[in-house]
Amino acid sequence: MRAASLAVVGTLLGTTLLGPNARAQDRPILLTGAKVFTGQGQFKTGLSILIQNGKIAKIGAKVDAPVNAIKHELKDQFVTPGLIDANTALGLDSPTVNEESSEVTPQIRIVDAIDPDAWSFKHALSDGVTTAYVSPGERNVFGGLGVIVKTAGASLKDRVVREDAMLRMTLGSMPSAGNSPMRVAAPNMYYRRPTNRMGTIWEIRKAFYDADKARGSRQKKEISAATQVLINALDRKIKVRTTARQDQDIRTALRLANEFGIDIILDEATEAYYAMDYIVAAKIPVIAAPPSVMTGHEGERPQTDTIALLANAGVPVCIQTGLGLGALPLVREAAFAVRGGMNRQAALASITSVPAKILGIDDRVGTLADGKDADLVVWTRNPLSPSSRAVAVFVDGKLRSGNLDE
């Protein structure tokens, strides 16, 4: 009986996790005849891709496939690496999730809040996104640790590319939004700092000072999980992803980076074009806000051009769909970047190889090369043309969305 039910479970595993054509998935797959974008440069023709046990076994003009390989002839279709969305709220109940009992919660891990079966993942997948950075919300000064996950896979554990990927730090008005000054006796925990921009910065400084002290101190035991995270940031073991929208925030972020010697990455940076020279000088990578969205305080100005400006100035820049910004699917945002004057290669790179570099996972994803994860997307036409569709999406060598047979 037990065995039987175990068998049942086994089959369940098969069906539920590998999808209908589970059998076929185990055999190697050979994709030929498509125009291929490897992560840089132009679309190249005449490249064949051999996918074997989850990795790209071989990519090149001349690939000899094993006999049992399933061959797909992709006549005039386009292949790109699986897209990488450098900032999302996939799998979360609400666009921004925070542990609000304190302003400084660097130890909180967003991975605990992710629902791997959420439809948001499936939508993202069908739009060609195979890797996504899921981030804590913006209501805390230190929001916590984000996680990088694949959008499909056996289980959440298998899907995680990097846990505790980056520490979220938020500047500007958001962290102080819900708080109220402690004038009278506090009726609830929201009577606390910060209540304004300066306060936010003060919280950051304080946190880092304390962490620095703790780093020096003798007894390592007392060091709390929270402090430990901050110490890692000071030791440059972990990058600090700094959300700064308006130009003064951007400048502040750069100041803080120098002051504490931390590795920062600019998040959203909506008004980057005002602080252009600073950013270029500091060579800080930017995870830019989606170009199709024009945020409220930015008024009506057409800022699709911002990303183009950054890219042309040689700043490593990638595109995010963001947390509740009402963005379009990632690939469409890239198209808008092109409309804003970015060239096509740069645009495609900014949703594949560049984010992979910025997130520090370029050893696994972001480009099509031997030994890389077999994450790739087959498109009906050039992905940047707004009327393209993702025909098939492979994650770790398995067809997770769409279908190649039709």
Binding site: M1, R2, S5, L6, V8, V9, L12, L13, T16, L17, G91, D93, V97, N98, E99, E100, S101, S102, T105, Q107, I108, R109, I110, V111, D112, A113, I114, D115, P116, D117, A118, P136, G144, S155, L156, N188, M189, A225
Partner: protein, 403 residues
């Protein structure tokens, strides 16, 4: 197909709560003999034309007659004989997760992590509701802290309506479901809650026994399977978080309210937890209705639980049974879900939930099969004493009394 067989092995190691065996001290002296057309000793085994001799609050003898005419065994030994020519006898129902009662009593609003609390202190045996529950055939229950605290405290084993207090300490109640979130205290988010629990469990490993505070000491009972843990989790992410905890700290766990479990069956199976389902109602979602079947298929132990304090108090388990049957579950499995399985999950498998010789004398007599709503409840016996006897003259359930 039938879940129970695969349940019991699991359930035994599931949780050995420390229930004092001798709770029958004040059992009634009268020996009761009950004769009926049929008895379900447990969902698998049934006897025709049985006669059950109850004495000392236990099932003293069970024997079946060749047919209704034949002279019943041990008629002599009984002080009182109750005859139900064409009725069916089952064990009294067991509710493994009951949060009945004054809601404010079942959680501590100020602090969210309160494992040291005990539901037994909130238990008021004289509540009317308990009486009603008993009169509807629910004769054993685990009275549990509600879902509004990260760690609500320890539940207790009670027999509804017997005016005694708790009969022993049961599992520790944790909660990761949204009820636990409270914007006025830590945690305000699921991940915050998980982090909090991890922090506590780690602290448990760091600090040596003597240094532990009350809450840590309470928490420590769950390590090494002396006490099970019941975790309330609804959404998939909550379930996953729960399973992760179970895996990383080696606790024996039962999930409650896990209506979304369907997507995660393999994982649940691997981690080896059992599930307490909310009672089914006529307006349950399709997900909830399909889940029992899926769990049974996957061989995950599950039971219905949660006679909450609402309109249907007392009849919800029976409704669940009927609806589950209407939705394709085998009748015997359905019966198991309200008798043997919950008993086993609560570590009371050897006391309640079945009617073998030596078990507590908790039973119900029905005019037909218990899973048909058309059959009436004729008699309820708890610890050998009759707590409900349907008025024979007019055959309506007199509502005004059951209030």
């Amino acid at each position: 197909m039938n879940s129970t067989t695969s349940v019991l092995p699991l359930a035994v190691l599931a949780c050995l709560t420390t229930i004092p065996a001798a709770s029958a001290q004040s059992a009634p002296s009268t020996k009761l003999l009950i004769r009926a057309a049929k008895v379900h000793l447990d969902p698998q085994q049934s006897l025709d034309h049985p006669s059950l001799l109850l004495s000392g609050g236990k099932v003293a003898e069970v024997a079946s007659r060749p047919d209704a005419k034949a002279k019943a065994p041990f008629a002599g030994q009984a002080d009182k004989v109750l005859d139900f020519p064409d009725a069916v006898v089952t064990a009294g129902f067991v509710d493994a997760h009951m949060t009945l009662g004054d809601q404010s009593e079942l959680s501590e609003p100020v602090e969210s992590f309160t494992p040291e609390l005990r539901a037994s202190e909130a238990y008021d045996p004289f509540r009317k509701a308990w009486k009603q529950v008993a009169r509807k055939g629910v004769t054993s229950a685990i009275y549990s802290p509600d879902d509004r605290n990260l760690a609500g405290g320890f539940a207790c084993f009670v027999k509804p309506g017997n005016r005694k207090g708790s009969l022993g300490e049961a599992y520790l109640k944790l909660s990761l479901s949204h009820e636990m979130l409270n914007r006025q205290r830590r945690p305000t988010s699921l991940m915050g809650g998980v982090e909090y629990l991890r922090d506590r469990f780690d602290a448990l490993q760091k600090t040596e026994v003597r240094a532990r505070g009350r809450s840590l000491r309470a928490l420590s009972k769950t390590i090494g399977g002396s006490h099970a843990v019941v975790i309330s989790c609804r959404e998939p992410n909550e379930i996953i978080a729960a399973l992760d905890l179970v895996d990383s700290y080696g606790i024996t766990a039962i999930l409650v309210h896990a209506d979304e479990a369907a997507e995660l069956l393999p994982r649940i199976r691997r981690t080896g937890v059992s599930i307490l389902l909310d009672p089914l109602s006529f307006s349950s979602s399709k997900k909830a209705l399909d889940l029992p079947g899926k769990l049974a298929k996957a061989g995950v132990p599950f039971a219905f639980a949660g006679e909450s304090d609402n309109k249907l108090t007392g009849s919800r388990l029976r409704h669940s049974m009927a609806i589950a049957v209407r939705h394709g579950i085998e009748a015997s499995s359905a019966l198991a879900c309200v008798t043997t399985v919950p008993a086993a999950l609560a570590g009371l498998g050897d006391r309640v939930g079945s009617l073998f010789k030596g078990r507590d004398a908790d039973l119900c007599v029905w005019s037909g099969e218990p899973w048909n709503l058309s059959s009436r409840l004729l008699l309820v016996v708890r610890d050998g004493e009759v707590v409900y006897h349907a008025p024979s003259n007019d055959n309506t359930q007199d509502g005004d009394k059951t209030r």
